[in-house]
Symmetry: C2
Subunit: 450 residues, 2 copies
């Protein structure tokens, strides 16, 4: 029987187990943590995530989209909260288009269920990968409950074990000519839970992603199913007017929220009490190549962990599964061929994903409060309304299409230059006001193709 | 008693042991390999190295310069060998200035001797670092002869264990916010031993570094004490007209040398016979930060491994020891202060060392065969002869001074722009020919300061 090993039962691992089981493999999954479906534990660091088109596509391919639908809260756009508690809404896409807030633990549990129902899949919890044997396609696991070490051999191994991948550290990184970097950005984050009202209702519009953009830092909030919001403060660790090292006491924190996020403070006057119970965490980008070696492949964060600012980490991991699945069929499970094409096709997209993610921090914490940026977005939306076939914004290409990241980024750059040029040459704001914006757009788009 | 642990008894470790012993520390050194003074083994991958001013300065500080003098063969310049076996000499610096070919094993053994004679130094061989405990300033070592594991505690630990540092992998890389990259260049190398003549004499001028520059690849040769030369072929691994993947048989190799390095082939017609016995090795740059954590510091290649093309790897490691030694005195052995300043001062120089090393591959394999480059070097030498206080070439700053690498690189860039501008505006070649070059130089240097 065909056998496959998956290290890590997180978002990439549990989804890939479904793909592999459906292809008739006997699948063994080793997960370092306990079963999140049984224990009251955090599945990872961030509690909720934004699911968008790439994720849906990968789920749909194996019939999982319906299994997670009820977990997903649509967010139709951003709501920006300024220092005076004034709100601005900016839609993400066309009418009705949304990205979806999902609980990491919730979607992970559903995918584990699906994996176990898809075929011959066994998930071993509390098993940590401590060694890798490329030559014999084996991994060595430490059972953290019994302290015993076991070896496991199979036809093919998938490392879905995240940013700090043990397969990568214990295996790939020791391979000659393996390029690797781990780069921490200067900012960290701390999560805060904004509880529901006493009647269980939401304190904010649940159908939007909330942002308090403050230039060098920001607070965001995504709705949970129970009426609460998971809020995250992203900020430099040190050396800034506002940085985590300045917030050392309950009073510092209280004053900071009162001053900088007044509407948030009003909703949650005891925010400072929760401060210490949530850890301050760091954010890193992991780049490496090659992504495959012998019968081993890196998938998801293990290959291309990124910062969370485009909400694409999970979606990219799921897209890895989708692409690997397509190639598995195309090459009739000849893994040498599959892996070769997988890494050649996906590496540029992993790099682009990371570049896009880093850039979008600036967009979220700073540009969304910038009138020029908002006007540009409005202009872009109008262009798309009139010429939907000719114009898709970068955000839409990334979040509402399956256009490869590298292609989207390249096209996005060209479009941005083009739009900026038009905006320099025309008073777009006045055009909107005197209702001649469509005229301008027609004159441009009938004359030249973008 | 003050105690210090050093992991690695290579060039950095054995020299730093001398510094630390002289400061009154009880020093314990753990080396993964057997004692190179007793075993007939290779000390590392490259057999000989170029010792220059920074290395001498660090050796001199602890009285070791005289202990290694007799090992050092001066090289006063480069001798380029073209495809038609025509030779061109280009001096490295002023009359009498030289860099020195030394055997890695030879200098390492002398420094080990010196360490053992400097005070309370014990070197344990066949001990591999397998774990790091920052909190308790402990390292765990596997005795590879007995297979026993021991723990060793001390006041301070220095990781001098090279590009693939076990202290870095097992310790630093797991520290939150530790940035790290390992980048392999596209080229590899293979060493070839050009033997002495039957009477023991050298087949080439021993007092020069020989280069066969061929654009995208090169062969170099450095003299050994016994009349032989260690030659190294640097070349892309694959995907080039000339790359290692094209040389698959004895005939391929023979034909390649005959065609591309005719004078070398004439000296060593059996070069192809040796080919398979020497491994093909890769070349990587390791960058990381911070370089210190708690009571641990990275020194030498463990902190900033580079490619060998400026001949500065060993010199930079020795300079780390010199700088650490100065700071140890300055801060009266307050290691928190020493480590803080050490990494702040040395990190930009480690980065510059790497940038310079990468750039110099192009210089050696390509530019030294370029008439414009050679004319520029000649012009620079003449400027320096006339205005020694005002003008020092980049090569001289790097190899014949202790100017920090970052400063040298910056000044070198400014000078290069300046020289290129003069060369665009004047026919330097004609000026040399009609003996008006000094006139030009005086007119420039009396008018403006560089």
């Amino acid at each position: 029987m065909k056998t496959g090993t998956i290290v890590g039962a997180g978002l990439a691992g549990s989804l890939w187990a479904v793909y592999l089981a459906k292809a008739g493999y006997k699948v063994t999954v080793f997960e370092r943590r306990p079963d999140i479906r049984k224990a009251e534990i955090s599945a990872g660091k961030s509690i909720n995530l934004a699911l968008s088109e790439r994720g849906w596509t990968a789920l749909r391919e194996v019939g999982l989209d319906r299994m997670v639908e009820d977990l997903a809260i649509p967010m139709y756009g951003r709501i920006m909260h300024d220092e005076k508690a004034k709100l601005t809404f900016q839609p993400y896409g066309e009418e009705g288009q949304a990205i979806f807030s999902v609980s990491r633990g919730g979607i992970n549990a559903r995918m584990m269920d699906a994996a176990e129902q898809s075929g011959d899949v066994t998930i071993h919890y509390n098993h940590q990968c401590v060694d890798v044997d490329f030559e014999n396609t084996k991994v060595t696991l430490l059972n953290k409950e019994t302290n015993e070490t076991i070896e496991h051999q199979s036809d093919v191994v998938f490392a879905c074990d995240g940013a700090f991948s043990a397969v990568r550290y214990n295996g790939f990184q020791k391979v000659d000519r393996f390029n690797f970097s781990q780069n921490y950005i200067a900012d960290g984050y701390r999560e805060i839970l904004l509880p529901a009202n006493e009647d269980g209702s939401y304190k904010l519009d649940k159908n939007a992603l909330h942002i308090w953009p403050r230039g060098e830092f920001m607070l965001i909030a995504l709705a949970n199913e129970d009426g609460s919001f998971t809020c995250t403060l992203f900020m430099p660790f040190e050396n800034h007017e506002y940085s985590f090292d300045k917030l050392n006491s309950r009073d510092d924190v209280d004053q900071f929220f009162r001053e900088v996020f007044p509407d948030f403070h009003a909703m949650m006057p005891d925010v400072a009490d929760q401060w210490e119970t949530h850890p301050l965490s760091s954010l890193a980008l992991m780049r490496c190549y090659p992504w495959t070696h012998e019968n081993f492949a890196l998938l998801g964060d293990a290959a291309h962990a990124t910062v969370p600012f485009y909400g694409q980490g999970m979606n990219a991991s799921m897209e890895d599964c989708y692409v690997m699945g397509q190639l598995m069929k195309k090459h009739n499970e000849n893994w040498t061929e599959v892996f070769k094409e997988y890494q050649e096709v996906r590496k540029p997209n992993g790099d682009a994903l990371q570049d896009l993610s880093v850039h979008n921090y600036k967009v979220m914490r700073d540009l969304v409060a910038d009138p020029h940026f908002l006007l540009k977005k409005k202009f872009e939306h109008r262009i798309h309304d009139l010429y939907p076939e000719k114009y898709l914004s970068l955000y839409s290409m990334v979040s509402f299409s399956n256009i490869p990241y590298a292609e989207a980024m390249q096209k996005g750059k060209e479009q941005d230059d083009f739009i900026e040029k038009i905006m320099r040459e025309n008073d777009i704001e006045a055009r909107f006001e005197n209702d001649t914006i469509d005229e301008l757009i027609h004159s441009i788009f009938q004359a030249e193709a973008v």
